[in-house]
Structure formats: C-alpha cells, structure tokens
Symmetry: C2
Subunit: 334 residues, 2 copies
C-alpha cells in the first residue's frame, strides 16, 4: 500500500534480488530456488504488485488480450450471442487473457487496427457470414484467429460451430422415431437466409436430407419474429399441409410465438403437433410445455474457440474445422 503504482524494481529491492529474478519468478521461464521464489512472492503480496500491462506487452510482444468481434444487428438473436461472449471471457481468463470487445460495424478496419497496434494477440469472430468480407483480411493477418461459424470459403481458417446439419437431421430422426410422417421446419427470418448466414442454411440442408432419408414429407419455411407473422406462417402451414404433425423450430425469438399460435389454433402440444426446437436450454425449459430440443452449446463453443486460439498462439497446429455434435434433450413437447 505505498503512494502510487508499484513497479517490479521496488519488488526486487524489497526482496533483495535483481529485477530479472522477479521477472523469472513470475514467468517461470528459468529455474529459481524455492527460497528465492518465496521471498519474491512475499514481497509481491506485501507491496501489492501488479505488472504493468503496457510495459509487459511492449517487452514481450504479447498483450495477453484477445479480441472478440460481435455482430449487433437484426436477425441475430442477442441472448445466444451473450452466452457465447460470456463463455469466451470466462475461458480467456482461464488462460490469463482479457477480452477486447469489437463490434462488427467497425468492420475490417477495426480488426486491422487492433491487430496492427498489437493491442490484441489473437481474434475470435462470431456470426460469420458465408461470404464474409473480413475473411480475406484474417487470412493475411499475422495474428491467429478463430471463427465461430463457417464462411463459404474457410480456406485455411479455423472454424468452430455446432454441427447444424446434424442438428437438423437429429430433429427429423427424433420425429420419425415418434412416428410422424409429415413434418415442417420453421427456420430463421428470410433476411438471414438471404444474407447467407451459414447456420440457418446448414440446418435446413440437414432437415431436407434427413426427410428424404427417412422417407417422410416435409417443408422448410423461413419464419419472422413477430407474433402476427408467426401466427400466419403456422396457420398457412396447417392449411396447406393438414397432415403435419411434427414441427422443428430453429428460431429462438419465434419459439414462444409458435407455441402461442398453436394454442390459438387449438392444436395441443404434443398431442396434435409435436415440437422440437433448436435453441439454448433455458429457452426450451422456460417454454410451455417445456420443449424437446437440440441445445445450442454456447458455453462449449465459446470455450472451444478460446482453446483453439490459445493453441494457435502457442504455435500448435489445430484442426481447421471443429463441429460439435448435437445433443437432443427430450422434454414434454414430443
């Protein structure tokens, strides 16, 4: 508790050793006798020393900060986003790193800026589009990066995500096991498909393939997020395909509205219509009735992304593509 900030030199003096010795105690990069180590550690806590981040970054060429690039725009379900973000921060701390928050609307310029200024050692990007303009930049950057989601041309980049194709298929499979023969997918808002966001398309592909493989009939529809739109979509679906007895919903914001619409159309869940959702667990559990769902393992994806980026920082070779297997949780809706 001295006047102002404590430096490594003060610690060294207090412990009666050289500055470099203190540094080596902290980094563990050279062997230090148990005795000296203890004295240094004692001085550190006695003085309340915290290494200066700037000085450390300057000397070591490592800032111990990673950038997290988040989208903040329409069609992206924000709570899911935050689950990822929370997981990334927590995981990064476990590797003794902090997280710098970048919004996607600063775009490529922001990424270039934080990388060139050595503000961050590495980057994690979320909500990557099929044809993402930042992808080429990432490729030429010296700093390692990991994408959450897959662009159309991952070429050399490291990507992690839930295996949405398998998730779509898993839902179909489950409905098939339950004996449903005519089913439908209610997906993301159409703007999301148009933008070419990967996860929405891949779920649809998995759905379509599995429908064929199991010899079912099925339609895949985009789905907006207001109650009225959802109501219309569901009503029209049941008019056009009256035999529909199973629904796959891949749209967190619409899940509640779908259930509301079914209630209003006098279809009971799961008696008249079975519903499987692809959404975070808490959304599925909070619904009425609680929904059978493939959970979006936000925490796991975030953690995995950080693990990969840290491995790359250490110079280890990591797989280009990491797909997390879908897990189906069976609840009251099927």
């Amino acid at each position: 508790m001295n006047g102002r900030t404590v430096t490594i030199a003060q610690v060294a003096k207090h412990a009666g050793v050289a500055v470099s010795t203190v540094s080596y105690v902290l980094s563990g990069k050279r062997t230090i006798s148990a005795d000296t180590r203890r004295r240094v550690l004692d001085s550190i806590s006695a003085l309340g020393y915290h290494p200066n981040a700037g000085a450390r970054a300057l000397a070591s060429k490592r800032s111990n900060v990673i950038a997290l690039v988040l989208p903040l725009r329409a069609g992206v379900h924000v709570p899911v986003m935050m689950r990822f973000a929370g997981a990334v921060v927590t995981a990064a701390r476990r590797f003794d790193h902090d997280v710098l928050l970048l919004t996607a609307d600063e775009g490529a310029a922001g990424i270039r800026r934080v990388a060139a200024s050595a503000l961050v050692d590495a980057l994690v990007l979320m909500d990557v589009e099929m044809d993402d303009r930042r992808v080429p930049l990432l490729r030429e950057l010296a700093e390692p990066s990991v994408l959450i989601g897959f662009p159309a041309e991952p070429g050399g980049l490291t990507c992690v995500d839930l295996d949405f194709r398998a998730a779509g298929a898993r839902c179909v499979e489950h409905l098939a096991e339950r004996g449903h023969e005519e089913i439908a997918l209610l997906g993301a808002p159409s703007v999301v498909y148009e933008r070419g966001t990967g996860f929405a398309r891949r779920t649809r592909e998995g759905f379509v393939e599995a429908v064929e493989a199991h010899g079912l009939t099925g339609v895949a529809l985009p789905c907006e997020e207001t109650f009225d739109d959802v109501y219309e979509t569901v009503r029209d679906l049941l008019l056009d395909h009256p035999g529909t007895s199973g629904l796959v919903v891949h749209n967190e914001a619409a899940v509640g509205h779908v259930l509301g619409a079914l209630r209003q159309l006098d279809r009971r869940v799961p008696h008249d219509v079975a519903v499987v959702a692809i959404c975070p667990d808490d959304v599925a559990e909070r619904a009425s009735p609680p929904l059978t769902s493939v959970l979006i393992p936000a925490e796991e994806v975030g953690r995995e992304a950080v693990r990969l980026v840290m491995d790359k920082l250490e110079g280890r070779v990591v797989p280009h593509s990491t797909l997390l297997a879908p897990q189906l949780a069976i609840r009251a809706s099927t």
Copy 2:
C-alpha cells in the same frame, strides 16, 4: 508494406524528420508546420503505420482502453444489456478508446486487476445493485468510473440511468388520462426485488406514488418470466381485482407472455385492458398489438456514460447523478 511491423522511427526516417516530430504530428501537442505535417502524414499512410498500443500506454500512462463490466446472470434481460454494451463500444470509439469486456463474476478482483495493471484508464459498470460490493473499491480507485444504475449509497460516485421513478409515474399518468381508475404494475421477477436492484424498486415507487397522487387504485406485483407463471399472475390479478383496466408491464421477457395470457383470457387489448410497457422500442413495436411504452434509452445511457467517464479522464468535474427523462411513445395498446 514492409516486412513486419512499422515503427515510428521508420516513419520519421521516411519523412526526414525526428521521431518526436512524428509523435507531435499525431498528438497535436505542439505546433507543426503544415508542410512537415503533410510529409509525415504521407509517410504514415505510405508505410501503413499504426502506433504500438503497449509502447504508447507505457510512455503516456494512458492505455486508451476503458473497462465495461457486465453482469451475465439470472433476471437480467440480456438484449437490453447488449444494447447498452453496443452503445458503449460505439461511443468509446468516438473518443478513440477501445473497450475491455469484464464479466461481473470476476467481481472486485477483476476490477482491481485491470486497474492496477494499467490495462484500462477508466471503468463503466452496469447493473449496479443497491448494496454493491464493488462500490467501495471504485471509490478508492485512482481510475475514474461511471455506474449505469444507482447503488443505495452513491456517495461521490458518478451514476447515470433512466429516471425509472419518473417512468413508473409517467405510465400511471398516461393511464389516468385515458380514464382508467384501477390499474396494476407487473414488475421484475421477485428475485430481482430481493436482490435490491435499484431500477425495479424505483419504478415501483414511482408507480405507487403516482397512483396515490391521481387518486387511483393500483397493485404492484412481481412477475416471473415463464408463460405459465405470467398466465397465473394475470389470471389471479383479474380475479382479485376484476375492475382492473390498465396494466403497466416492466419486464421485457414477460411482455409477450402478458399479451398471450390476455388473449387466452379473452381480454382484448386495448379494449378491455390497456397495456403500457417499459421496455426497449423494438420489443414494444414487435408486440401484437404494438405497445405504448416508455422506451429504455439504452443507446443514450451508454453514450452518456462514456461521455461522463471521458470528461472525468480529462479532469473535468461532472455531476454525480444523471437521470434521463422518460419518453412515452403512444402505440396501439392504450
């Protein structure tokens, strides 16, 4: 486009000036002739120079980074949170600062760490509780900070928020103008009141005071976030107080459920029951029918918080308390 990172020395050489001159061009802290400035600027863009953040922080004792401390836990509505976060990032960039993301679960230790290591120049904290354990720490820190929300004992700290008391009152006033005499407030989940979160309590106080002032009758109820709970709450409310014709909803997650419950109970909005919400604009607009609402001016609050913290960094004196006046947007639900 040279081999690796470009330093200020290379820029100086390229422009034929001293290193310090380049620095002064960049910071504007000494007068530089137009001619020299142009040459330096040209060299900078020719070489693609970006100042090294670590070196700059070390020499200037300013990292140009502010910390944003976010909660990520139950009862906090995440999308609103993200709106704040986005606004803070955008505003900070406008002051040439970046944002380091800290989660509240690292608690006081995390704050102390980033402050002591000079990783950040200042802090913005969200979702402050009435009796927040981080408040005393903030007070003894050399780094300036701004709270979004009010603790019970702000003593000396700088706080910004929507004036929730006025917001609660404004809703009552609006319902009174429309001729409603028996009204109710559906608030946050009870856990939020128990934790002593300020905004929930203050809205309730404003509601209660205004009900008295206008000579109405009114009850204030906590409100959970699952459909079933909301349905029960609304049903019981209408049983116990059959004359209730106006509802104030201050719970973003429950807004949709409240409307669903009213539909199921055959009450038409606004014909049988008028509904005013306190929630972000997009939630109010997306509801069916679109809701009259006091908007939570997330962007404005975030921007204001950053402005205040920057003022404090510059050594300016700022007001301890900034309350943003509520704005009522009238839509179809009243």
